[in-house]
Symmetry: C2
Subunit: 218 residues, 2 copies
DNA sequence: CGCAGGTTTGAGCACCCTCAACGAATGTGG
DNA sequence: CCACATTCGTTGAGGGTGCTCAAACCTGCG
């Protein structure tokens, strides 16, 4: 199965991920070779046991929870180079899915648990800081401010303050920002109309007036 | 200054906290004797250097951030017995204030930094879990559900599932739940009207229909 | 008793959601 | 290669939840 072929394979569970052949497994914590997850494939589910962390080689991941009636809250997006899958106890309390075709490496804790905490704490801190930032956005910002904060965050994480490639759909953005897709779409439209951003493609955003965007933050 | 006298002292800064005399300082991390903070007194501010953690002997604390225009998001309440003041880097990114007269003990990290992480990680985890729960509430629940979630959480943390004593004002609750005081008040009124709770006092809540409350959760 | 702070209640409005239809993009099958 | 299906995104109209503004109420305290 090639990368292109698998891009749109649907939720067929474990058949969907395939080991990618690479040499080199490094020294200390045991990194498995990266596995290919196709768009929409589940990486882990709420209630499963935590067995490892995950490093994203390429692609993107959404981590979310569901309410009983199906409402979804995406608590975080993770991009290439980031590590996720970290939970407070031995069980997962979230779902994780690949947003697009993604190469993901399982990282098993070092056998000597002593070093584990030194690696876990920074990860917990990063997750916590993001959650707290997110909390402020969801609690006290309006739709336009939320979308602006989201774009600014993505731009910063992708290392290009003028251009963002969004791997996720409007639906994902809405469930991340506590809005509906229509409201997200209208916010994009308004930012475009006001000349703050341009949209060369649906998932491609140019930040034209950085200043105007920043004015919507904090 | 007695505890009662100081209950309503206002923001008079550093004069407001007073050391309480107690014997006993324990072994490993250096706990200072508890300090009395009166209602509304700042414990630390955004931008200050982190010097220690804080243990609440009695009372309650709010931890919050401000937007430029004064909007406030309370990210957490802390009650007696809990530890707070933990931040991701060396500087505080939040404000912390005593909600009511509170006895708070500064806990300085053990000089051997080795043990520090063993104590920090569980605290980071607890903070993270709460933030993530809070995220779901702010992102995807309506006003009534938010207030219900808040009451259920407070009841559980106070160890009495049928009765809650709220140390904080409606204003604090609103800024915690991302609502206005009026909306919080209306939610209380509605829960009372529906017989879910009773209000023996403004800050005293009896949970009458636990089941109905639970139906509003997750 | 009057004042002050916090809370409740009401009326009106704004923002965002809901529902619906349309348009765009992409992949499928003929 | 084109028609079609499907998914995703946009746009519009209308309604509801929660916000704003305002006034009344309650409670504690000087």
């Amino acid at each position: 199965m090639t990368l292109l072929e698998s891009t749109h394979a649907l939720f067929d569970g474990h058949d969907a991920h395939t080991h990618i052949e690479t040499g080199s497994s490094r020294s200390e914590p045991f990194r498995s070779p990266p596995t290919l997850f196709t768009a929409g494939t589940e990486i882990y589910a709420q209630g499963e046991k935590c067995t490892c962390l995950y490093e994203i080689e390429f692609g993107a991941v959404r981590v979310y929870r569901l309410l009983a009636d199906g409402r979804r809250q995406i608590s975080a997006f993770h991009l290439a180079g980031e590590t996720f899958g970290f939970e407070a106890d031995a069980n997962h309390h979230f779902f994780a899915e690949a947003i697009c075709a993604s190469g993901i490496r399982a990282v098993h804790a070092a056998p000597s648990g002593r070093n584990a905490e030194n690696r876990l704490l920074p990860l917990a801190l990063k997750t916590l800081v993001r959650a707290q930032e997110h909390l402020l956005v969801l609690g006290r910002q309006n739709a336009l401010e939320r979308v602006a904060a989201f774009l600014a965050d993505m731009a910063e994480r992708q290392g290009d303050l003028r251009h963002v490639e969004l791997p996720m759909s409007r639906n994902d953005i809405a469930d991340y920002l506590g809005l509906t897709i229509e409201t997200v779409s209208r916010a994009f439209t308004r930012l475009k109309r006001d000349g703050v951003i341009r949209l060369p493609g649906l998932r491609s955003v140019q930040i034209v007036k950085r200043r105007a965007l920043d004015d919507l933050l904090t």
